[in-house]
């Protein structure tokens, strides 16, 4: 990983302060026990669902305070990133069984159908309205239909993050193995 000219044993010159001295990223490869960090894995297991729930909160609160589909999707995505860093692609694959591109496509379809749906009721494209839903137990709840757009964004962004993990994470890792480089 480090460059070939090795001068780390010398007293470090000033401008070399940022020279990497060890592999600074934990590999995601689960099959190499030497590189696993139990602490990180345990933390992740505990944090992961919490963060996902928080992301749902952000999604729903978006209309009233900071939040919304973007931020929520990104938070959820970061949860998966954490999971990947701790457990590697195999672990991630165990959680997410759908293809990432399909997730992205689904998100986009949800958003586009939200845009087009009002036409069926004779309203302009992308118009929104307030839906009153009678929920059991909770009673009457009001829902702005634009939340569906937010849901689409949320799903799509999770898909994007997963796809990035697949490509930049797993893909590059595999390339490195192919090339015989030490991860």
């Amino acid at each position: 990983m480090t460059t070939s000219r090795d001068e780390s044993h010398d007293p470090m010159p000033f401008e070399e302060w940022d020279r990497p001295r060890e592999a600074w990223l934990l590999s995601g490869d689960c099959r190499r026990p030497g590189q696993r960090s139990l602490l990180l894995e345990m933390t992740t297991r505990a944090v992961f669902p919490t963060v996902l729930v928080f992301s749902l909160y952000l999604l729903l609160v978006g209309h009233y305070g900071p939040g919304g589909g973007f931020s929520a999707g990104l938070v959820a995505g970061l949860a998966f990133v954490l999971r990947y860093i701790a457990g590697g692609s195999d672990d991630l694959g165990a959680v997410v069984r759908v293809r990432a591109p399909a997730v992205i496509g689904t998100g986009l379809v949800i958003a586009l159908l939200t845009a087009l749906a009002p036409v069926a009721w004779g309203a302009p494209v992308l118009s929104t309205t307030k839906l009153a839903v009678a929920l059991p137990l909770l009673g009457r709840a009001e829902l702005q239909t634009s939340v569906f757009l937010d849901v689409g964004v949320y799903v799509l962004i999770i898909g994007v993050v997963l796809d990035l993990l697949r490509a930049l994470g797993t893909g590059i890792e595999r390339d490195m193995r192919d090339a015989g480089e030490d991860a």
Partner: protein, 165 residues
Amino acid sequence: MTTMTTTMTMDPVTINMVMALTVGVLYAVGFTLLLSRSLMRVLIGVVVLGHGTNLLLQLAGGPPARPPIVGTAPPESFADPLPQALALTAIVITFALTTLLLALGYRAFVLVGHDEVQDDVEDRRIARQKVPSAPLEAGDGDEQDVESADDEVEAAAARGRDAAS
């Protein structure tokens, strides 16, 4: 709308010195990095430039004010929400472009062993040429033919120079 615009006083939107300096530095650094040959530097330049642009977009709305969330403050004290929304969109788009360029840099590195942007080979070839390749009259198929036609054109030009001098 008319009622609102008349009642609302016009806040000066002028960007202050500190922010102008910040934006200026971000752009300067971004531009400079963009001009280098390393694709990774270019990429970092794009990111820095993107930060500068997003900041500028937000600043275009006016000086700091209260977050535009109805109910938390009187509407007159709100910051202009539109630049915020635009900047939000811009942030996401910049992110998308960054990752794409990152992947391209990676691929370039894997393919050619470094991530420098090379000069265009064909352009260099043409710049070195004295006579256009593939002259019109030639082209019977063999290279020799091309050469001889080149010679002819050159010779014709030379004759002309002699005659002129």
